[in-house]
Amino acid sequence: MAVAERTIGTSPPRKEDPELITGQARYTDDLTMPGMLHMVVVRSPFAHARIKGVDASKALAMDGVVAVYTGADLAADWAGPLLMAWAVSEDLKNPPHWPLTKDEARHQGDGVAVVLATSRAAAKDAAEAVEVDYEPLPVVVDMEAALADGAPLVHEDQGTNKAYTWSLKNGDVDAVFAAAPVVVKERYVIQRAIPTAIETRAVIADPSPAMGEYTLWSATQIPHIVRVAMVVATGIPESKLRVIAPRVGGGFGSKLQVYAEEALCLLVAKKLGRPVKWVEERSENYLATHHGRDQIQVAELAADEQGKIRGFRFNIMVNMGAYLMIITPGTPLLGAFVYCGCYGGDAYEVNFTGVFTNTTPTDAYRGAGRPEATYAIERIIEALARKVGKDPVEIRRLNFLPAFTEPTPMPGGLSIDSGNYDATLDQALELAGYDQLRKEQQVRRERGDTKQIGIGLSTYLEMCGLAPSRVLKALNYAAGGWDAATIRLSPTGKVQVIAGTSPHGQGHATTFAQIVADDLGIPFDDIEVITGDTTLAPLGMDTYGSRSIAIGGVAVHRAAMKIVEKTRRIAAHELEVSDEDLDYASGTFSVKGAPDRAKTVPGLAWSAWTAHDLPDGMEPGLEETAVYDAANFVFPYGAHICAVEVDTETGQVDILKYVAVDDVGVVINPQIVDGQVAGGVIQGIAEALFEEAVYSDDGQLLTASLTNYEVPAASDVPSIVIGRGPELPSTTNELGVKGVGETGTIASPPAVINAVIDALSHLGVTDVPRPASPENVWRTIRSTRGGDGR
């Protein structure tokens, strides 16, 4: 019998694409319900203000307006504030975060009231007519200012703007630093970023008043978590609430959140007994959807004279914004273990201080904590290289952990699954043409060209696949990190895969179908993947932290293997041999030594359905569920090299070449992986060169539109040269997979910034602010050359 061809390692056309390409995919805003009302949120224009009164009489008199509710009107209806799931420390301050503020607006865009009307336009007009009496209060946006004595307090009753402190320490750090002949110390500012998914957020709550049931459609990454969180906020029991994430147009962490508008739509739908829709406007998205990054880092390395690292120490201030959202305080912790990068050392210390400011809350943004960690170590290692007179390649090779294929401890305190850091670096150097680039750089230096070349490296270690539930407990996170899959075979051998992770652009349907196709020997086209619906896929922990393949994919594989085990018993029964007498390959059970006597999984699905002749005691049907909780994280790693050309007159930076070598273990679908790498790298380049959320001193977001929040487009970024390194299988899971959703965003910013610094190193430049915008680079050059740029 012909063995089905393996699909793993190939790139069949994505199952998702036909409806996306033809515009037939239905996003939340495409859905409409009979009798639906439209909600618009009245938001504070002030970053900090007392709400002295709200007069909705004009709005209520307008055509089509059904209701206006203020924070005070709804105060008694909430079961609790919005969920904050990560109380990282004992000293954490967690002021309640209500869906509409009751008394004070604490950031520009804080919700003050909602207007419900029969059309979106009417709701929008009426929202303008709601008169709010604000008493402006003192504002603080800068973290260092917020911690100073006498700073205005974001939450007066907390008595401080310090949200928490958290530390991780391995070894005798102080002694290592005291004894080290070489110490380098630098300060880095990681600017605030705004995730900017193409689809803004959108919510519909559809009540069934007679039944007391609700369906909530939301452009979310986390329908399962939202469902639990809505119990906390609204008191609607889970048994009465179905959450659906239909097609979702990108998230990057910004939809890994439990938002006020989800709770508001539900509550208002409950009060009015009508469906309620809210669609976020683009400029509203900049204020009302969480931001990311925003750290001030002090990085230190202790080393010997050769530059061999002995100790790591990082002191980090993290901007929380005005409230703690679902994992605001925990986001930096996701990077806490990888501040050592892929380097060895004896002592390790990371300290975080969370700070409240009158700004939009921050939370997870693609990479969440790990881009910040990688930036710190990949910058400071170059500072060490300069100090000991080594080139950036040499300093890294000196410090790499040796290659390994069995779990191995690293300075951050975790055990890594597999890695060969020299191998990815070798490949990256070759793909980049490193030696040739260095020669070209030399030629331009000697000629004194206006445009100088710089080469930047980033050799990174990531941890992802969130997360072993026991580790989450140890870190005080409120939930687990497992995921689930159910596989159901129809009588004719077609397959439903029901997965608990929830895609928003990643291609789960394609990748999961490939795993199942290979496990069960069933054609890719006969496999349907169902996600993003708490009724159809009741068990799940959703999609973030590069977990969908490393956790969700493994659950899919395990469910498929349970199907194999059940069908094996049916096959053995039908062939009248024992289970052990059967060989299994790609969907076919054959008798050892008599390969012609065989049964296939689709045929056995029929047997399971008719149940005419099953082994004694076996239940009919073919449906299996697996829930997978990983014993460890997975650890992608790699080497990125960026070559830039810097115009030393204007400060303009152009990327000449970008090489990304990422070992993400076993690759299921190369095209999808390439897409994740390229997209991630570009998002990281955007942070390095383009994007920055800028607040004025009085807390106005100055970059609140796509015209001045500089998201680059295809024409502004290079094509990415991609390599995969040695493709060492992860030892954490039996698929050998790691994660790939965040590698690019984690690795690329320091590669780009190191390149810009390298291009200007002959002028004595050792630092450049992020983003390395033309003006920032120009200022850097001017300050080094004594003011005139010459």
């Binding site: 979106r120 336009a121 007009d125 400029s283 383009f690 500089e710 487009a713 024409s715 502004d716 003006e775």
Partner: protein, 284 residues
């Protein structure tokens, strides 16, 4: 992103447009490509009570040879201007500047008339037209009149157009043979407006600059001509040294804005660098 309520009228002809403007007075706005007006309306920064749609006036969409000048109808889209052989032959600077506007989608909607009437000092085509001394043809309640580009831009988003005026065409003088030109647009992303832009024309006589015209984008509340640079160049050799010296005059008379993309100080520094580069490119 929902505009305030407005009424909508479609102009069937140029006369009809003028008539509608007369009827609706100051509350009306003409709608051409909509790529400046509609974003402002969606942000509710503009709230006209009536829109008069002139987008369908195909008799105002043309580029034609009119002897000593090329005439461009006000409804001509940027993409057609950028692709015009006639303009490339006689005044390539205009085609080049139009080709630098936004991205292909924007260029297929945005019109030259809208770009001028909007009066945004950060826009590219107005500076190019100012630099070549174009003339604008306007139909108003009192009939037709022409306005030189140098007298058209009066302030930030303000022009010589009255509330009942319709811009019908632009007359672009043909450049003398051998005139070099360049448009240097400095921006961060391809789709962005210029942080600073420089349009330059250099007419030479035997290696000497006979006439130079230099225009600056986004260096003041209106598009600007750089008199300081122009006079510093007249009669000088068309050399790198002369260009550099003249370029040092670029900041004179400017009043650049500061925003999240660039400070005024940086724009000032850029203006000299870009003027020098534009002059060099014009004669290259």
């Amino acid at each position: 992103m929902i505009p305030a309520a407005f009424d909508y009228e479609v102009a069937e002809s140029t006369d009809h447009a003028v008539q509608l403007l007369g009827e609706h007075g100051d509350d009306a706005k003409l709608l051409a490509g909509g790529h400046s007006l509609l974003p402002l309306m969606k942000l509710r920064l503009a709230r006209p009570s009536v829109l008069i749609d002139i987008g369908g006036l195909s008799d105002l969409a043309y580029i034609k040879d009119a002897g000593d000048h090329v005439e461009i109808g006000a409804l001509t889209r940027m993409c057609d201007i950028a692709a015009s052989d006639l303009l490339r032959r006689h005044c390539g600077l205009i085609a080049e500047a139009a080709g630098q506007v936004g991205d292909p989608q924007v260029r297929h909607r945005a019109t030259i008339g809208g770009s001028l009437a909007h009066g945004d000092p950060a826009s590219d085509p107005p500076v190019a037209l100012l630099t070549v001394d174009a003339e604008l043809v306007v139909r108003g309640p009192g009939g037709e009149r022409t306005v030189p580009a140098s007298g058209f831009f009066t302030n930030f988003f303000e022009t010589a157009l009255g509330p009942q005026d319709l811009l019908t065409s632009v007359r672009v003088p043909k450049l003398a043979a051998g005139t070099g030109w360049s448009y240097q647009k400095f921006h961060r992303r391809a789709i962005d407006w210029a942080i600073v832009g420089v349009a330059a024309l250099v007419e030479r006589d035997d290696g000497t600059v006979k006439r130079a015209a230099v225009g600056l984008t986004n260096m003041a509340t209106t598009p600007l001509r750089s008199a300081g640079v122009e006079s510093a160049l007249a009669g000088r050799p068309a050399s790198a040294e002369a260009f550099a010296e003249a370029a040092a005059h670029a900041p004179e008379g400017t009043n650049p804005p500061s925003d999240t993309n660039a400070s005024a100080e940086y724009r000032t520094a850029l203006s000299s660098i870009l003027v020098r580069r534009a002059l060099e490119a014009a004669v290259a």
